[in-house]
């Protein structure tokens, strides 16, 4: 929105991204004319209620949209590569290494039939031509980076032998293998319990600090995002309704929907005696409030 397109600080630039269901013109697009950008080293959050299009937006950027959905965009530029016009072949290495994906469900996102080590080393073996030995050494360092104990032993284990928090950190370590300039994390902590959630969030911030990887962090939880993000993008029904710095958000957002999101999240300051605001049709009529605004 306020992006300066010529600045070479921009790592990811998305213009007018729309996603729709193939061959079903009667269904309105699931994501409509979404534009945003990410600077190098920045942590940006995307927040919005369930079904607002956060996951689809991130999958479109990484060219992993599920079968049956199609996308169009004026421009998606990642680190100087054209993700709209470019072919899979040209983009293989960039997407396989510079972009790391961390998914919501760590229990399901690692291959249950393969050892951790085999899963971790394949990217750099494939795209960087590292030898098995070099790749294993890198994997051990990468696991150390995410504070996993006995990393050499982990490489020989299967995913089911690790706890949920360890698996999510392993996913992150796997992404770090390619020295990514962007980590795309879609609700990386939702499936974990609260103490582990904090560790994983802390880890992402640390990595951003130490390695300079930008992070695009997707979550329902606006207060969680406001603790770690430089900037927050608010999505509602497939569109971006607000894109603002965290400082501005904390000072009080303009948009009634964003205000609603803030009220809907319990935090330490919330009076537990009062019922939480829920965002549901009827109780919180966004469109009506938007027209008022």
């Amino acid at each position: 929105m306020n992006a300066d397109p010529v600045s070479n600080d921009i790592l990811l630039d998305v213009r007018n991204l729309s996603i729709s269901v193939e061959n079903r013109d009667e269904i309105p697009p699931l994501v409509r004319n979404v534009s945003f950008h990410l600077n190098r080293g920045e942590i940006v959050g995307i927040v919005g209620e369930s079904g607002s299009g956060k996951t689809l937006t991130s999958l479109a950027v990484s060219r992993l949209l599920p079968q049956g959905l199609s996308m169009s965009a004026d421009r998606i530029d990642f680190d100087g590569h054209d993700l709209v016009g470019g072919s899979d072949r040209e983009l293989r290495t960039v997407l396989g290494t510079n972009l790391a994906m961390v998914f919501q469900d760590p229990m399901q996102s690692l291959n249950p039939a393969r050892k951790i080590g085999a899963q971790m080393i394949e990217t750099v073996r494939e795209h960087r031509g590292l030898s098995k030995k070099e790749a294993r050494a890198l994997a051990i360092r990468s696991l150390e980076d995410v504070h996993i104990t006995e990393p050499a032993k982990r490489l020989k284990q299967y995913p089911h032998e690790l706890s949920g928090g360890m698996r999510q950190r392993t996913m992150i370590a796997m992404g770090l293998m390619g020295e990514p300039s962007l980590i795309l994390a879609d609700e990386p902590t939702t499936a974990l319990d609260v103490t582990v959630q904090a560790q994983v969030m802390q880890l992402l911030c640390d990595l951003n600090d130490r390695k300079g990887s930008a992070v695009l962090l997707i979550s329902h939880n606006i207060s969680l995002l406001s603790e770690v993000c430089d900037r927050i993008i608010v999505m509602f029904r497939g569109e971006i309704v607000e894109d603002l710095t965290t400082a501005k958000l904390l000072a009080g957002p303009d948009h009634p929907y964003t205000q609603g999101l803030i009220r809907a999240v319990p935090d330490l300051n919330t009076d537990r005696g009062v019922d939480l605001v829920t965002i549901e049709d009827g109780q919180f009529d966004v469109e009506r409030e938007m027209n008022h605004a």
Binding site: L64, T93, G96, L99, A113, E126, Y158, H160
Partner: protein, 313 residues
Amino acid sequence: MKWRRFLVSRFVRLAFVLVAITTLTFLMMHLAPGDPARLVAGMDADEQAVQIARERLGLDQPMYQQFLDYVGGLFRGDLGTSFATNQPVTEEIAQKIGPTAQLAVLGMALILLVGLPMGIIGAVLTRNGHRWFEIAFSGSTGAMASIPQYLIATFLAFLFAVTWQLLPVAGSGSIEAAILPAVAIAVRPAASIARLVRVRTLEVLESPYVRTARSKRLPTRKLYLAHVFPNSITTMLAMGGVTFASLIGGAVIVEQVFARLGLGTTLVHSVLVGDYPVVQGIVLLLGFAVVLVNALVDVILGIVDPRTMEAGR
């Protein structure tokens, strides 16, 4: 450590099943109606001749004594003597096992080489949105999986051996003679396996871990071999034991249709003439084969997917 516990548990289970099979075949033969002694002595023999035959066969002994003798014989590799030919049962089996083993091996190979790739290709084509293909696949495999094996056998024999005269209609000598019967017993299990593998592979293709693998931009071949295949064949392996059992059952019937001199034809013939030791010996052998294959499948499954080792304990 984990492997030792797994193997011990499988071994105990195996021993248990083997004991059960041995006991059941023994009881089956001894509780079946009819008097073996009379059969051996001949229908028109007098009471005294029957009594002599009964003593010679040990049938006058109490049941438990007979059972102990039988089990003792098993440990010495002695399955008894055929009533009909007076040959040792082991000898009878050794002469007839060749054609049946040939059929089982060929049939199993056909099931794996046809059923598995069909299932995987079926899944990939379905996922790529070939709707006509999905309908054709489900229809044809569904039909093939439900036709009885003797019908397929008769149909194949009629078409290839009688009408077109491409392959021999009967016999057990050459490998050509084994082709039609092997196809006949393989069609049904291959179709069921193809169906199962397709459904399982579709599941795997949509799984979060395959999405993770896709995000790594590996070559397609690697994606399928390393990430999809190991997860989709576990279903097929788990079916392997049942498939082998149905293969053995099919072989017994199909040997009749193609007049092959194997264990199946011998089994049916021995039942008809009341040659109980032979029936007992063959049933025991086939039972052991099925149980051993099942145990082997468990071990392979444990290697391919280590989670089953823990789940199945």
